[in-house]
């Protein structure tokens, strides 16, 4: 009996050894939750900067908000991204935890040299998910972009993420590029990648201070501007606002935006685009690649600054026609620029050819840059104006009489 009792006790004690928890426990108070990462060039090494959430500062509190910064920024250099991140433990009390990464910003200088080597880690590491936005710091370093405190959203990374997501829905020149999307385009033969550009306006020095968010108008602001165009993983140029817009129209990325347009008899009016549908169709005729872009746009009249008679259907027809012309012209200008200036197929025309005629594509892809530059692009744009807003005739027509 005693022996049996002893055996049970011994077994229970041994089992206690198994109950000490697991190797991979991640205690919340030991994690430095990274929300944004910036990657720059530092000689022949990478300079990595991270924004880490200050848990105490972002937790909901009664009694007003403290004056401390809601995030801390750490920087370290390394030959590899991984080395730099681990080296941060020499300055940070907590280990970097990357599962909640929202944005990764890449400095323009690094982007021009090529970002392929910087991105492998982000795909390989098991903590990192591929749903964050990539951005290129336009004319500045990634570190200075991450060094700005933002109003509205306390955590700057969330501010960047949310403004990218918002602009994508309401402003055609901006579209969010996730790591997954970028790498897919990078691995594809018939499409060169682009990344959203982010710029810094105002006083960079003041931007990092909590004073920046104490003012009504912050001294430093982050602003999205255009798309960076890549040849494979190297940045080769920028699309301006108009060109980025055309790019997004062609790829069917536009959900809603607006188009300014001159009235038939002078003055401006704005059309709110509420729905678009784009379709790129490729085919090969007599060995020559061609694509046809069909764009269907639904819009409403949003603002009028001129004298037109909105009671006449002919006027609406005229507006539709002008809007089509404008879109067509903007798109063909952008395509021509890519064909002549860069010889760079960012629109995925090569993919369209590949989908349509795999055999011809095998031949064409060998010299796709040149074939792209010479190819014929047909544009078929149709816009429909549905509504004119809550008033029909503008009071402006009375004003000028």
């Amino acid at each position: 009996m005693r022996i049996k009792g002893f055996a049970i006790l011994a077994a229970a004690t041994l089992l206690l050894l198994l109950a000490t928890g697991c190797w991979n426990r991640q205690e919340l108070n030991e994690l430095g939750i990274v929300v944004a990462m910036g990657i720059d060039r530092d000689g022949d090494r990478f300079r990595v900067s991270v924004q880490v959430v200050q848990p105490g500062e972002v937790a909901a509190k009664s009694g007003g908000q403290s004056l401390r910064s809601p995030v801390a920024m750490y920087e370290a250099s390394g030959r590899t991204i991984f080395e730099a991140l681990r080296k941060m433990t020499t300055v940070s009390p907590r280990k970097i935890y990357a599962s909640h990464l929202r944005v990764v910003v890449i400095g323009e200088a690094l982007a021009r040299q090529g970002i392929g080597t910087a991105l492998d880690f982000l795909q390989r590491d098991h903590q990192v998910r591929s749903d964050f936005y990539l951005m290129v710091a336009k004319e500045t370093t990634a570190s200075s972009i991450l060094n700005v405190l933002t109003p509205m959203e306390r955590i700057p990374a969330n501010d960047l993420y949310a403004s990218n997501a918002t602009a994508e829905k309401a402003w055609a020149p901006i579209f969010g590029i996730t790591l997954g999307k970028f790498v897919t385009d990078l691995g594809s033969d018939g499409k060169q990648p682009v990344i959203t550009g982010i710029g810094l306006n105002g006083d960079a020095e003041e931007g990092s201070n909590t004073r920046n968010v104490e003012r009504i108008r912050p001294a430093a602001e982050l602003q999205f501007s255009g798309m960076a165009v890549f040849r494979k993983d190297k940045l080769v140029g920028w699309l301006n606002e108009e060109e980025s817009k055309s790019y997004n129209f062609i790829l069917g990325n536009v959900r809603s935006t607006l188009e300014n347009q001159s009235c038939p008899n002078g003055g401006e009016l704005a059309l709110e685009i509420i729905r678009t549908k784009a379709n790129v169709k490729g085919h090969v005729r007599r060995g020559e690649p061609q694509v046809e872009i069909r764009l269907r746009v639904e819009e409403n009249v949003g603002e009028i600054q001129c004298r037109i008679d909105l009671n006449k259907t002919a006027v609406v027809d005229e507006l539709e026609r002008r809007s089509e012309d404008r879109l067509r012209e903007a798109m063909s200008k952008t395509i021509r620029k890519m064909q002549t200036e860069y010889q760079l197929d960012i629109f995925g025309f090569g993919q369209a050819i590949h989908r349509a005629d795999p055999a011809a594509w095998r031949r064409l892809k060998r010299d796709w840059d040149r074939n792209f530059a010479d190819m014929q692009v047909k544009l078929d744009v149709k816009t429909v104006i549905d509504r004119v807003g809550t008033i029909n005739q503008s009071f402006l027509s009375k004003l000028e009489e």
């Binding site: 697991c22 190797w23 991979n24 098991h126 998910r129 591929s130 749903d131 997954g180 790498v183 897919t184 691995g187 594809s188 993919q351 590949h354 989908r355 349509a356 005629d357 795999p358």
Partner: protein, 367 residues
């Protein structure tokens, strides 16, 4: 053979379903996309067709010797000495199979979820429940599978339904670009993982009650399991794209990471991983069951159960060394594995059937 119970025709079919999906669902989409790119799903469909042939072959052999296990058939058809030799090869393969699947489990955990936990403990813990299940016998395994099946199907539907808005048709185009030999290569690797290991079910066949019903449903259930894996492959290509699918170690896990409905229903991939833990458990158990009962029968032991713990320890130890590293695993799976399983899963049963017919005439379901 020991008396480890009877399983009903329905329970057998549930086991067959999970056994078809186990590990295949986790590892196969990547391999298919590497070979056939955006046509990987065609390769999967062709693999299901091959699987249909394989299942039909096993059904015929089972119908001819309804009361014999694989070891028994070997001895009956090939005589004592040759029969034992073939059984030895069979048992050895069951052992290798159980250790490689166990390696997959540990590899998945240490790559995706708990990189710092030593793989010995993950494999050890998983092996303990495998050994437990096999010790309790086929009946206990079959009943637990019946209980778990609805959960499995529920998770599967969540995966498919919540990802269907993300399917992009362009990812599949151009269709049929892969050359026929690439499609066949993909189909073989699919059948090699999903169908040919079914040969180890021969150790289970004598336990099945109302075997006629089980045989009737066998083909359909095997195809249903194959179609589940086909769907996962289809979604991997359609959501992730062929390039990402082929480059990913575990594309179906990456797929589960993509689930995001309204920024609210998201980050549930670890729950989704239940799909492969469950199915992989039954796959490992049946390999191990084939191993343990095969050895017992080969050595004319009355009961295989006393073998299970020592063999379980062997399995864990061997799972740690069976592949020196992940790169080796991918290389071996892509090159050596397919001919190996073709010999064990197709050539040997075909020989047995032919020899059996020569010796005793066409199968009539009775001996």
């Amino acid at each position: 053979m020991g008396n480890d119970g009877k399983i009903s025709a329905r329970q057998f079919l549930v086991l067959l379903f999970l056994y078809t999906i186990g590990t295949t669902i986790l590892v196969i989409p990547s391999g298919l996309a590497t070979v056939a790119r955006q046509d990987a799903w065609i390769g999967a469909l062709a693999g299901v067709l091959i699987g249909l042939g394989v299942a039909a072959l096993y059904r015929t052999l089972w119908g001819k010797y309804p009361n014999l296990s694989f070891a028994g058939i070997c001895e009956r058809v090939l005589g004592k000495v040759v029969g034992k030799a073939v059984t030895l090869a069979f048992v050895f393969y069951a052992f290798i199979g159980s250790t490689t699947v166990l390696y997959y489990v540990g590899n998945f955990f240490t790559t995706q979820i708990m990189p710092e936990t030593p793989i010995q403990f993950i494999n050890g813990l998983f092996a303990v429940i495998v050994v437990m299940g096999v010790r309790m016998g086929a009946e206990a395994l079959a009943r637990s599978a019946e209980i778990i099946l609805p959960w499995f199907i529920g998770l599967f539907f969540v995966l498919i339904l919540s990802l269907s808005p993300d399917l992009k048709i362009e990812q599949f185009q151009p269709v049929m670009e892969a050359r026929p030999n690439e499609i066949i290569g993909a189909a073989l690797s699919f059948a090699g993982t999903a169908s040919l290991p079914l040969v180890f079910l021969f150790m289970l066949f004598p336990r099945v009650q109302m075997a006629d019903q089980a045989r009737k449903g066998m083909l359909i259930v095997h195809v249903a399991g194959g179609l589940c894996v086909f769907l996962v492959t289809l979604f991997s290509i359609g959501v992730l794209g062929a390039d990402v699918t082929s480059r990913n170690m575990f594309p179906s896990y990456e797929l589960a990471k993509k689930i995001n409905i309204g920024n609210f229903f998201q980050r549930i991939e670890v729950i989704m991983a239940g799909l492969w833990f469950v199915s992989t458990y039954y796959k490992t158990s049946l390999y191990f069951y084939g191993f343990a009962t095969g050895v017992a029968e080969m050595l004319n032991l009355k009961d295989y159960k006393s073998l299970t713990w020592p063999m379980g320890i062997l399995m864990v130890l061997y799972s740690l060394v069976v592949y020196p590293n992940v790169v080796y695993m991918q290389h071996w799976d892509a090159t050596v594995y397919i001919p190996y399983i073709l010999v064990m899963g197709a050539v040997v049963p075909l020989l047995l059937l032919t020899a059996g017919i020569i010796r005793s005439g066409l199968p009539d379901g009775r001996e």
